[in-house]
Amino acid sequence: MPKRHKDRTLRVDPIKCEGHALCIEAFPEMITADPWNYPVLNPHSIPPHLLRHAEHAVKVCPVLALRIETHDGG
């Protein structure tokens, strides 16, 4: 049986997000800027070795709009 692992993805609340763009600086590997400097998230799951960067990006958001969503993978 394959080992169960957690599938983690980035998610932004579009209403809370005010385009401060600190997450884009913190985690450019998976967050890029749209033409108005709002974050565009890579929809794929966060590779384990980048998880610390993702957590940092969540922490620097001044309006708590970014979070890491955990799904049970199989």
Binding site: P14, I15, C17, G19, D34, P35, W36, Y38, V40
Partner: protein, 428 residues
């Protein structure tokens, strides 16, 4: 042509309770499981725009509400400026809608229902109060129904906006999830259905699924209300069986008033279709999707061949940008940028606008809390495709002769909007 009148069968300007019962029979006595079963087998889908299977929605809400109880919202707001069908039905056949609310509430286990209409519609409110008092006098076993007035703006009637309002907040879309069918009014699973959908439900439950399917097609059963406007001989609200051709649909309103260039199918949440393609398309959600448009709330606006489709779309694009709730960055920044580009193309010409629109659009679709920005992007994209010849002509020779014509599509007068955040200029 054989157009079966169901919702409009009484022919009355206002069908009072006696007329209503004489034509349709009394409210049927069925338990929740039987109501859900009939509606599922009837194949009824939502008539508010999304065409979601009504039976499946009932079953989902009923399942979620087993312990907590549910709430019903009948959406009669008709946010689409070009639509008149919900208003027409609320005025003419309020008892069918109220029957549908009561049956829907019974199906999902709701003790309370809200019938939402836009604020300030005094004729609607008095027709509904009259109908409700007739029902009280007759002692009908109705669920408790409150008529609720909703602010008059485009996104206020989006389903999460209605839930937000009824929970004491402003009528603005919420970040989803949870969706209303999971957790809505007062945290309870909430059935949100368009008023026309509930009226069809009332008839399907009365007469059965087989009867319901005697109109329409196997894929799209039943009749539907449509608002036919623009250049047709007799604009108005009509009831038609689903599955007729676009040409036959326009013939219901007396046919085109002059040679047509295109039809806007699905209203301002739909898309442009070339007139020849529209004439051949089957009027069903699937048929219109294949033609690149949508059934939406059943709005069809015919544009004369000599009108400027780009100028018409630019006016709608500006209206849709103004109607943004200004909550989400991609919508509050993106829609005005698209409207600016399209307006420049329509009124001045030039080569830049199509590229700007194509570059910005992917950054708008799917990035709002509600689907408002997606609809605006789809409409504008369809204009660039369907009016591709005009795009080239405007680029080479500037604005066209069509600008001399008065605008065909209705756009409400601009209202002061509250912009909570400044615009950010786009980097393209």
């Amino acid at each position: 042509m054989n157009t079966p009148a169901r919702l409009t069968a009484t022919g009355a300007d206002y069908a009072n309770l006696a007329t209503h019962v004489r034509r349709h029979g009394p409210l049927p006595v069925l338990d929740a499981a039987s109501i859900i079963d009939v509606v599922e087998r009837s194949g009824l889908t939502g008539r508010g725009g999304a065409a979601f299977p009504t039976g499946r929605k009932l079953r989902t809400v009923a399942g979620n509400a087993r312990r907590s109880g549910a709430v019903v919202i009948a959406n009669g707001c008709e946010g689409e400026p070009a639509s008149a069908k919900d208003r027409s039905l609320l005025l003419k056949a309020p008892h069918l809608i109220l029957d549908g609310i009561t049956l829907g509430a019974r199906a999902v286990g709701a003790g309370h229902a809200y019938l939402c209409v836009h604020e300030g519609r005094h004729d609607l409110l008095s027709a509904l109060q009259r109908a409700l008092s007739e029902r009280r006098a007759a002692g009908l076993p109705d669920v408790d129904i409150s008529v609720t007035e909703v602010p008059d703006r485009y996104v206020a009637s989006e389903e999460s906006s209605l839930v937000h309002l009824l929970n004491g907040g402003p009528a603005l879309p919420l970040s989803t999830p949870p969706r209303p069918f999971e957790r809505g009014v007062r945290g309870r699973p909430t059935l949100v259905d368009n008023v026309e959908t509930l009226a069809h439900l009332a008839l399907a439950v009365r007469h059965g699924a087989d009867w319901f399917r005697t109109a329409g097609t196997p894929d799209a059963p039943g009749t539907t209300l449509v608002t036919l406007g623009g250049s047709v001989v007799a604009p108005g609200v009509y009831e038609v069986g689903l599955g007729l051709s676009g040409a036959d649909l326009l013939a219901v309103a007396g046919g085109p008033g002059e040679p047509l260039g295109a039809v806007l199918a699905g209203g301002y949440f739909g898309a442009w279709v070339r007139a020849d393609r529209f004439a051949a398309a089957p009027i069903t959600p699937h048929g219109l999707q294949s033609a690149g448009a949508a059934m939406g709330a059943g709005i069809f606006l015919a544009l004369p061949a000599t009108s400027c489709g780009l100028a018409e779309t630019a006016r709608i694009a500006r209206y849709l940008a103004d109607q943004s709730a200004n909550q989400c960055g991609p919508c509050l920044n993106g829609l005005p940028a698209l409207a600016d580009a399209l307006t420049t193309l329509a009124l001045q010409g030039g080569r830049k606008a199509p590229g700007t629109i194509t570059a910005l659009s992917p950054y708008i679709t799917g990035r709002g809390a509600c689907r408002h920005p997606d609809g605006a992007v789809r409409l504008i994209a369809s204009a660039l495709t369907v009016f591709a010849d005009d795009v080239r002509a405007h680029a080479q020779r500037g604005p066209c002769q069509g600008l001399r014509r008065a605008p065909i599509l209705p756009v409400p007068a601009p209202v002061a909007t509250t912009r909570t955040r400044p615009l950010t200029p786009a980097k393209v």
